[in-house]
């Protein structure tokens, strides 16, 4: 340890109460700017990484932001639905692999994402335990979901009750956890993945109940030959089991069922260009480049961040003024000590260096404390704001 550093440390340690107070003041002054910087940096990095891994996203006309945020990050408002037939048509001529996504519901507060096995292939998701959902009513959990809900293959998870006023929605369904995915550090870690058809059941588009012919008369609206029309009083299954699996069915044409978006992975650049050109003129389907939309979102975020940056500059100036006052008061309070250095013959520069080292240690400790606390606050904010 150099001499000045040793003496500076001794002074700060001897006056530890005063030193800690200074460190705390500085740390608090620097905390918010550091936390905001950290949060925005992480936010931007994660958003960009996810967008870069998704060449195109398709959805119904409407908000670009809602579509991208829902399909890629499972967040934000639910976009207008697109039929799965329209989604599949994008890749019908082999130009792209289309992965439909339906996310409207939650389970244990985590987004339930209905999709096809291609999703896991395209995202490179590995199964850490168990298997991917193979039949109706099964679910694979993202790594964080499994940890937070303390669930493993073999457990069950009840989907959350949707809005009371959404009369079309299905009842909560008990999902069977059959797998847990490996951690990716992205939004997939917080999701509950189910088969697309299971997601439709959650939407009330498919359901299961006992044999219509064996229903009590009060649950039957009409009987005509073999045809039985059941009333709303019929009891639907709240869980899909091997015993009742055959009783689940969908009404209407499968192709007409909704998805909230579709991830489109073109075969090559040419296919990508062709698809973009093709869907530029379509008014019923929008095909977006997520990276572009994310940059627009980040543009708004960075504009907001400029206010924080301006605030950071003011806080920095204020902290510098505060330190100057402390330095001046220090010189006054320590006049006798500084005079002793002078009488011994210690050079002014060496004394100045000593004071600067002391101040540097305080600033360093303050900045380090702010960095640690800032990272913690950023992590908390990230969890609160982004749910990751």
């Amino acid at each position: 340890m150099s001499g000045a550093l040793r003496l500076a440390w001794r002074y700060l340690a001897h006056h530890r109460g005063r030193s800690l107070l200074l460190v705390a003041c500085l740390a608090l002054a620097l905390l918010l700017p550091i936390a905001v910087q950290g949060l925005v940096r992480t936010f931007a990095t994660e958003l960009r990484a996810r967008a870069a891994a998704t060449p195109l996203v398709a959805g119904a006309p409407g908000s670009r932001y809602d579509l991208v945020l829902n399909a890629l990050y499972f967040r934000g408002r639910v976009p207008a639905p697109l039929t799965v037939g329209e989604a599949r048509a994008i890749g019908a001529d082999g130009l792209a692999t289309v992965v439909p996504v339906l996310h409207r519901r939650t389970a244990g507060g985590h987004p339930v994402v209905g999709t096809t096995p291609e999703y896991h292939e395209q995202r490179g998701l590995a199964v850490a335990q168990g298997t991917l959902p193979l039949v109706l009513g099964q679910a694979a959990l993202g790594a964080r979901t499994a940890t937070r809900l303390a669930l493993a293959p073999g457990d069950t998870l009840l989907t959350d009750q949707g809005s009371l006023y959404d009369l079309a929605a299905g009842y909560p369904l008990r999902l069977h956890v059959v797998g847990v995915l490996g951690e990716t550090g992205g939004p997939d870690d917080d999701a509950v993945f189910v088969d697309l058809k299971t997601a439709w059941i959650l939407e009330g588009l498919g359901h299961g109940h006992g044999d219509a012919g064996e229903q009590a008369p009060d649950r039957v609206l009409a009987r005509q030959g073999d045809e039985v029309t059941l009333g709303a009083a019929v009891v639907e299954y709240g869980e899909i089991t091997p015993e009742n699996l055959a009783g689940f069915h969908f009404h209407g044409d499968d192709d007409e069922h909704p998805v909230t978006g579709a991830l489109v992975f073109p075969r090559d650049d040419k296919a990508r260009t062709l698809l973009r050109g093709r869907y530029r003129v379509r008014s019923d389907v929008q095909l977006l480049v997520p990276a572009e939309v994310v940059e627009e979102v980040l543009g708004l975020v960075f504009r907001l961040k400029r206010f924080f940056d301006a605030n950071s500059v003011l806080v920095g100036v204020s902290a510098a003024l505060f330190l100057t006052v402390v330095l001046l008061l220090t010189v006054r309070v320590r006049r006798a000590e500084l005079e002793t250095y002078a009488r011994l013959g210690v050079a002014r520069a060496a004394v100045a260096r000593l004071l600067v080292v002391e101040l540097g240690l305080v600033v360093l400790a303050g900045a380090a404390t702010a960095a640690v606390l800032g990272a913690l606050v950023a992590a908390v904010l990230r969890r609160v704001l982004l749910g990751t």
Binding site: G3, R6, R10, Y11, A13, H15, A342, G345, A347, R348
Partner: protein, 248 residues
């Protein structure tokens, strides 16, 4: 204990010529026409409180500059040097035991003694200074006290730490402002003997301000500031030094 080997033919360690100093009009004034101290010479400065003994030491160390006249240390007048050079020279060549000791409360006795080496690495390797301090500490009975702060030391122990700080740089001039003032008679004699032995070993010149007339026989020159007349130690009675007042 007279001077071991003062070399009167050697170039003077200190040479004062027509020194005049005052703190302001009507205030205390110091006026010393001429004085010379050779390497190895020991001088005691006596005089009543307030007669300017501490001020004289400050002038000899280049801490203050005279209003008129010249104080030369090893042939170079302090007034010919700028502030930085004076400090550099003082730190490297002058050991000073201050009247108020001026130990730094936040440092241990060891760091207090080595403060010059900590802040001026060009004084030499710290390890060598630490070895020398250990040697001095043994002589001063400080070995087990080096890790204590001044607040944990008695006045006498603090005084010995101040002595160690003054000697650890191996100075060629040692100035001590009542270095034994608060020590018991036994410790006083021991500290003085160590000071004198170290000064002799270094071949350094020594100027001690003291009110303790029992110690004067250890000095080759006794200087009564009130009379402004240096005289050899053991001069006949009736000289001004004998008339010096006891400590206030």
């Amino acid at each position: 204990m007279p001077d071991a080997a003062p070399r009167s033919d050697a170039p003077p360690a200190l040479e004062v010529t027509d020194l005049r100093f005052a703190y302001g009009p009507g205030a205390f004034e110091l006026d010393l026409p001429a004085w010379r101290l050779v390497p190895g010479e020991r001088a005691a400065c006596i005089g009543p409180s307030g007669c300017g003994k501490t001020t004289l030491l400050d002038l000899l160390a280049g801490i203050r500059l005279p209003d008129a006249g010249r104080v030369a240390f090893e042939g170079v007048a302090w007034s010919e040097l700028d502030e930085a050079a004076r400090r550099r020279r003082r730190l490297a060549r002058v050991g000073f035991v201050f009247q108020e000791l001026e130990l730094l409360e936040h440092l241990t006795a060891r760091d207090n003694a080595l403060v010059a080496h900590h802040l001026a690495p060009d004084l030499g390797p710290l390890a060598a200074a630490e070895a020398r301090l250990d040697e001095l500490a043994r002589g001063l009975g400080l070995e087990r006290l080096l890790d204590r702060r001044p607040g944990g030391l008695s006045r006498g122990e603090r005084q010995r730490v101040a002595l160690a700080r003054a000697l650890v740089t191996s100075p060629s001039l040692v100035l001590a402002d009542e270095p034994t003032g608060n020590l018991d008679p036994r410790a006083k004699r021991g500290a003085l003997e160590l000071l004198l032995a170290e000064v002799e070993r270094l071949g350094a010149a020594l100027v001690v301000v003291t009110h303790d007339h029992d110690l004067l026989d250890a000095f080759g020159t006794v200087f009564d500031l009130q009379q402004l007349a240096p005289r050899p130690s053991g001069a006949p009675s009736g000289t001004p030094a004998d008339e010096a007042e006891p400590p206030a």
